[in-house]
């Protein structure tokens, strides 16, 4: 474990209000949060608790209506959509409940996708994608299309896609939600292994057993961390 205290992401009184003029709904109350290098954080909370909103702000898919989000020392709360896309591309890896692979292209092409938007050369893309697929144990499956794979394998492709850019944070939104418990555990094992290697994880789940694997559990209710 090469844990250090480097702060990757910091929320400073960040809040999110939807439709602020007409009928304000405070999805996230002013929140302070720090995510450090090699953390494994689980965010838990019931539906409508604001955990998705928190997740989207951490993932730079959304910006707070008030307060700040500091990513590696840089305030990203006022960035344009294109600039946020660049941050997501370089700094964040996403793993979704529904895998979200592109069905018509190969596993390899799916893993290469973020690198294409990063402008990495074809040769380098291939090298890095193969590397990460080997690490995740899918070297045999690179030319398959996603629908030829099992759910667990598809989620592993998604993890490979999240890892390939060597991001600062990997965000997982209910990563085991569509898998049976055994396969779910396998996925969490991969997360733990990657976390021991120094990768930072933020995972949204409502499964207590899964959350136990995290080093730190954040519970959220009615838009507030409790």
């Amino acid at each position: 474990m090469k844990k250090n205290n480097k702060i990757l992401l910091k929320l400073v009184n960040a809040s999110k209000t939807y439709l602020p003029e007409i009928n304000p709904v405070e999805a996230l109350k002013p929140t302070n949060l720090e995510i450090k290098q090699a953390d494994f954080i689980a965010i838990m909370g019931p539906s409508g608790s604001g955990k998705s909103t928190l997740m989207h702000i951490i993932g730079c898919l959304d910006v707070p209506t008030a307060g700040k989000i500091i990513f590696e020392g840089k305030d990203v709360s006022k960035l344009s959509e294109a600039e946020l896309a660049r941050i997501r591309n370089q700094k964040i890896g996403f793993v979704f409940q529904t895998f979200n692979l592109i069905p018509r292209v190969s596993v390899l092409a799916n893993v290469e996708l973020p690198l294409i938007y990063a402008g990495v050369s074809k040769k380098e893309r291939l090298k890095r994608a193969l590397e990460v697929l080997k690490k995740i144990g899918l070297s045999e499956r690179i030319n398959h299309t996603p629908n030829q794979l099992s759910g667990g394998e598809q989620q592993r492709v998604a993890i490979a896609r999240a890892l390939v850019t060597n991001p600062s944070i990997i965000l997982a939104d209910e990563p085991t939600g569509n898998l049976d418990s055994k396969t779910g555990e396998e996925i969490i094992d991969i997360f733990r292994k990657l976390n021991r290697e120094g990768n930072t994880f933020v995972m949204v789940t409502h499964d207590q057993e899964i959350a136990k694997n995290a080093s730190n559990i954040i519970r959220i209710k009615d838009g507030e961390i409790i």
């Binding site: 993932g59 898919l61 959509e81 896309a85 997501r88 979200n100 018509r104 294409i116 938007y117 402008g119």
Partner: protein, 403 residues
């Protein structure tokens, strides 16, 4: 992200829905093919008529009965072309007057046109009988291939002599040499003096399928009191306006203003080409409507495609696609559809006009091909922008949640 990758991504997406992409392209294929085809027919017609008129001789003027207002491009102002509708008042005296008084007139030829029945040893053929003067081969720039044309003395004494077009000679005489033989024209016996060289067929009309007899003879043969029209040759092409004035001045002594019209090749060309330009534009315009319809087809399919791939767009945005990258990707997709459709359309249109060209003159103009390519690519951009913008504007969070 480089352009080549975007093209690859777009091609993959299009390949995933081959039938749909093919059918969408079909709209553009049909549109472009019909633009090319109709424009090639229009300009072929123009080329053909221009050639025909130039074949009449650059120094030629035609005097036809009745009023024929030439009003190039003067929409609605001119009267309807009524050529031939009025009864002719031309006589041989007019020819004499013109030849004597006209300073810039080289010669004047009488011209009549009738249909007659040709017979030779049991073979029968109905064909056009043209009554002309001995100057005909010179005026039309058509040589006599065998024998000779009729002479001035044949003409002046209205002898029953004939010169055959190549087709008539072959059909009636086969391998026989017709020169010196008899031919029956509408139950009158004529002697064949010669055969004209081949002019070939144009637009399905065989120019060699006619028989030439002296106009004087034709007047008697077909019982006409007046010459149908006059072909006037000017001394050179620069004098044509003067010649026109002279003809009018001389003929007005004996004829009324509305009893004859003088046409020259260039003014006929002007009228014809302005009519044909309008026609070509109209044909092209009709075909262009189908291109627009094809473009709307592309827009429709692209909108469906964007909606279908909402989650994919969300994913792409999550992993780093900028709105511009999404916009470009979908525009490229629709441009590929329209451009590929356009290319196939150009090919089909060109093949089609080549096929039609076997029976009818068509001219494939390079500008129409360039235009078709340009327009089809433009359609891809114009009709692709709205769906692509819709995709680019999607919020990644909502797009990822889309069911």
């Amino acid at each position: 992200m480089d352009f080549f990758e975007l093209i690859k991504v777009s091609l993959e997406a299009l390949k995933a829905n081959k039938t749909r992409s093919g059918l969408t392209m079909l709209g553009i294929v049909i549109g472009v093919a019909s633009v090319i085809l109709l424009i090639s027919i229009g300009s072929g017609l123009k080329t053909y008529i221009t050639e025909q008129l130039e074949g009449l001789g650059a120094n030629s003027l035609f005097v036809i009965p009745g009023e024929f207002d030439i009003d190039v491009g003067g929409g609605g102002g001119g009267g309807m072309p009524g050529a031939g509708a009025a009864a002719s008042k031309f006589t041989f005296d007019h020819i004499k007057d013109l030849e004597r008084e006209g300073k810039t007139i080289k010669n004047v030829m009488a011209y009549t046109e009738n249909n007659g029945t040709m017979k030779y040893r049991g073979k029968t053929k109905i064909t056009q009988v043209s009554g002309v003067s001995p100057e005909y081969p010179e005026v039309r720039d058509q040589k006599v291939a065998q024998g000779s044309f009729f002479s001035t003395s044949h003409y002046n004494s209205a002898k029953r002599v004939a010169v055959l077009g190549r087709t008539v000679a072959e059909d009636l005489y086969g391998l026989e040499d017709p020169v010196g033989k008899n031919i029956s024209i509408s139950d009158q016996s004529y002697i064949v003096l010669g055969i004209l060289e081949e002019k070939g067929a144009m637009a399905g009309i065989d120019l060699d399928n006619q028989v030439f007899i002296p106009a004087t003879t034709a007047m008697r043969q077909f019982d006409m009191e007046n010459i149908q029209s006059l072909w006037v040759q000017s001394i050179d092409s620069n004098s044509i306006p003067e010649t026109e004035e002279e003809i009018e001045r001389i003929l007005l002594k004996t004829l009324d203003d509305d009893e004859f019209s003088v046409l020259d090749t260039s003014s006929i060309l002007g009228v014809v080409s302005s009519i044909l330009s309008v026609l070509t534009a109209a044909l092209g315009g009709i075909a262009a409507i189908s291109l627009v319809v094809g473009g709307i087809g592309i827009m429709n399919i692209m909108l469906v495609s964007v909606t279908e791939r909402t989650r994919e767009i969300g994913l792409r945005k999550a992993v780093g696609a900028t709105p511009r990258a999404i916009l470009t990707q979908f525009i490229i997709e629709s441009v590929i559809l329209s451009f590929l459709g356009g290319s196939i359309g150009v090919l089909l249109g060109a093949l089609g006009s080549l096929a039609i060209g076997r029976v009818f003159t068509t001219t494939i103009t390079p500008w129409s091909i360039g235009l078709a390519f340009g327009v089809s690519a433009l359609i891809g951009i114009v009709f692709g922008v709205a769906p692509a913008a819709k995709g680019a504007k999607l919020n990644p969070i909502d797009a990822l949640r889309y069911e």
